[in-house]
Amino acid sequence: MDTELDRISSLPGHVLDQILSVLPIRDAVRTSNLSRKWRYKWSHIPHLVFDTQCISITSEDQTIVKNKLVNIIDHVLLLHNGPIYKFKLSHRDLLGVSDIDRWILHLSRGSTKEFVLEIWKGQRYKLPSCLYSFENLIHLELFNCLLKPPLAFKGFRNLKSLDLQHVTLAQEVFENLISSCALLERLTLMNFDGFTHLKINAPNLQFFDVGGIFDDVSFENTFLLTLVSIGLYVNGINDRNVSRGSSSKMLRFFVNLPHIRRLEIQSYFIKYLAIGKIPSRLPKSCMDLNYISIRINFNDFEENSVAFCLLKSCPNLQEIEMLGRPEEQAAVGPLAGFWGDDHWKCLFGQLRLVKIAGISGIGSELDCIKFLLSNSPVLEQMTVKPASSEGGLELVKELLRFRRASIQAEVIYLEP
């Protein structure tokens, strides 16, 4: 048997980089022990990921763990040679240490393109000003951080994706950030404070996902926005004065979303849309909208109006999901006769799939189902899932009776 050849070391550099990048950082650095050729191969890996799985430190004492972690990251950074394309730091035991500042400074001298920082515990970590000088940043993801850029900050010119969760930043800072990142395509915001008006001025934005507490949403220049998912985590807008006599939020919301394709209205956002005048239909139909998901209280008149208006304005819907809020619905009496009127007819020419969940089989819910069934000639499947099993049989009995416009339609009852 001839001598075995070492084939792996002679693979081209970028392939080895790829292999090493996929490994957890620990294993990647350990390859420096393999043989002479492998000593510094790891130092060129473009991705550095320090997370809880990568570095397993078993110790009870918090300080020890922290010190070890700081040490390891220090060393890896020092020994690393070459551009760092992606840097991720997300270790459970790293509490807002000032060492992070130092590492960010080190990275700012290079050309990092993706930066992910997740501070698991403790208060918001104030990001150092050198973070704002990452010229080549394409993706920024922050968790539990405080952003306070210097006055001269002109935005991240190349930023395409921004993910901010549990962050604090001031209103102007937020607006500035969004509007100055001209290439921004994806924006995710979750649980933020410091600002309450979501003014989104982003010409290249395609994906927008927000969940938090805010007063107002306005889009400007967002003609490419195709996916919007909004959740308002507070029940009812605080300031009733705002709602009374204010312009129709619904109209304002949709006026700058001409090409929206997927819309998810989560939590209590529908209440926001109910503020002001609710038109019977939108002035301009959302021709591209093919998926809609609405979290709705079927017993609330305004919410139903909003949903109805929306459905009427989207003739090309292919999939509808309507989720009830069972905890609320019990409080108010059932709303009957809303959806069932004969002249409320509209055609869902492309509707193929409907999912209804969280209902209890009362008045307006059934009307809504009836409405959808009788107006969707190409419906293939409708699944109905009640919130609880009581009244299940009644619900099924009603479902059986409903007329269906589509002969292909399957109505499937799912166990709660």
Binding site: E4, L5, D6, R7, I8, S9, S10, L11, P12, V15, Q18, I19, L20, V22, L23, P24, R26, D27, V29, R30, T31, S32, N33, L34, S35, R36, K37, W38, R39, Y40, S43, I55, I57, S59, D61, I64, N67, K68, N71, I72, D74, H75, V76, L78, L79, H80, N81
Partner: protein
């Protein structure tokens, strides 16, 4: 339509042939059916063994490199103009790649099907996996490169260096220069436990040697502790340690105290502690001939640098490293710079020479001596078979190579115990233990 009217077109037919055929058929009044399947075009490819084969067009065009050849250079249309595969793509690898392409180019398959095919596809021995990676890369078939890279990464993940070397047949040529992420010593027991754990393997050996060790003839200025104490310390009984003279001659510089990787050959007696803050800085310990006293404070520094393999490190880097080494020496302590210079210049004179460590670790070829800054150290005087404290850099000829193994560990344990803030790492086969323990 009768059979007669069906034009049978041979696979090798060229387009003009087909057109001619069609013209002929159309002259007649009968309808013509040209079976599509036979019109499938093929691309001619020559594998590295010289054989020429035909590959279905859609399969071959899945590879960007072949695609490029066909479109930009117009090759592959005939036997004489076959596309020759790059060197890295052997015939067996090529047929594997074709299998891959054949599956993946079919549209309409679900992600799940693709995934399960991929999973089964990469189940092969590592040798073939490496070859396949190389071949896929030559053909610029990125999805396959990604797949094989991930498979290789999965093989490497979680294994010790020995296992990895075993699997990939890597030469174990790093004995002197194994490098470890420096560990900063902190004043806590887990560290001591950690080090003790490292030497767990050799404890038995130590115990045996303990019996052989001669504890008589200790010099007066020997350290307070007896060998027994030391050994018992090593064996996990830290209570046996008497208080150390915690002399800190050097200012502790927190920022730069990243400790020293050490090098140790398995059969060799010596580990040197050196400070290393940059990649490429390989510090080499001296070998059996020369015993270097180790500085056991946190500012361990072995100024002389030797490189085993000059090929890998270019001279500019070496020079830079030397300079760093000197710089660092200066930083260490203001008392020492001249000393350091002196020591450095002892060894310096020429560029760090290649150090070759042969079997018994002789350093005869080595023109310069490896020097370490020693502040306070306990030395095992082999000559007198006793412990002694030394305050300066001293060279003590080693007696036997095998004996130093234990000394080494003892030294480190001792030093570690004595100087709480010292940084010690023994880099040898324990490296993997240490790293694992991190």
């Amino acid at each position: 339509m009768s059979e007669v009217d069906m034009a049978v077109v041979k696979p090798e037919a060229f387009v003009d042939d087909i057109i001619q055929l069609m013209r002929n058929c159309l002259k007649g009044s009968n309808p013509v059916a040209i079976v599509c399947q036979m019109m499938r075009s093929y691309i001619w490819i020559q594998t590295t063994d010289g054989a020429v084969q035909q590959v279905e067009q859609e399969v071959a065009m899945f590879c960007p490199m072949i695609c490029q050849e066909v479109i930009q250079k117009g090759r592959g249309s005939s036997k004489n103009h076959a596309i020759s595969l790059p060197q890295g793509v052997g015939p067996s690898m090529f047929s594997l790649i074709l299998d891959y392409c054949r599956f993946h180019q079919v549209p309409g398959r679900s992600n799940k099907e693709h995934k399960s095919f991929d999973e089964k596809f990469v189940r092969m021995d590592t040798k073939r996996l490496c070859e396949l990676t190389s071949a896929a890369d030559s053909l610029q078939l990125k999805p396959l490169v990604d797949l094989t890279s991930r498979a290789l990464a999965r093989i490497i993940e979680g294994k010790t260096p020995e296992e990895i070397r075993e699997i990939f047949h890597l030469p174990d040529d790093l004995t002197e220069e194994e490098k470890l992420e420096p560990l900063k010593n902190t004043n806590d027991d887990p560290r001591i436990r950690l080090l003790n754990r490292l030497y767990a393997k050799k404890r038995k050996e130590l115990k045996e040697r303990e019996k052989l060790k001669d504890v008589e003839g200790r010099e007066e200025h020997v350290d307070d502790r007896s060998v027994d104490d030391l050994l018992s310390f090593i064996n996990g009984d830290s209570k046996g340690m008497k208080t150390s003279k915690n002399r800190k001659k050097h200012q502790k510089r927190k920022d730069q105290q990243k400790c020293a990787p050490m090098y140790k050959k398995d059969s060799n007696a010596f580990s040197s502690l050196c400070h290393n803050a940059k990649v490429g800085h390989e510090l080499q310990s001296s070998l059996s001939e020369t015993l270097k006293l180790q500085d056991v404070t946190d500012m361990i520094f072995a100024p002389t640098v030797g490189f085993e393999d000059v090929d890998e490190i270019d001279p500019a880097l070496k020079e830079e490293i030397d300079r760093e080494v000197e710089d660092f020496a200066r930083i260490l302590n203001s008392d020492w710079p001249e000393r350091m210079q002196e020591l450095l210049s002892l060894g310096q004179g020429k560029r760090p020479a290649q150090l070759s460590i042969n079997g018994n670790g002789t350093l005869k070829r080595f023109g310069m001596t490896v020097v370490s800054v020693t502040l306070y150290v306990i030395v095992w005087m082999e000559r007198t078979r006793s412990w002694a404290t030394m305050n300066s850099a001293v060279w003590i000829p080693a007696q036997t190579t095998s004996g130093w193994n234990n000394f080494d560990q003892m030294l480190m344990q001792v030093a570690y115990g004595k100087q709480k803030d010292c940084i010690l790492i023994d880099v040898n086969s324990h490296l993997s233990d240490l790293w694992r323990a991190l």
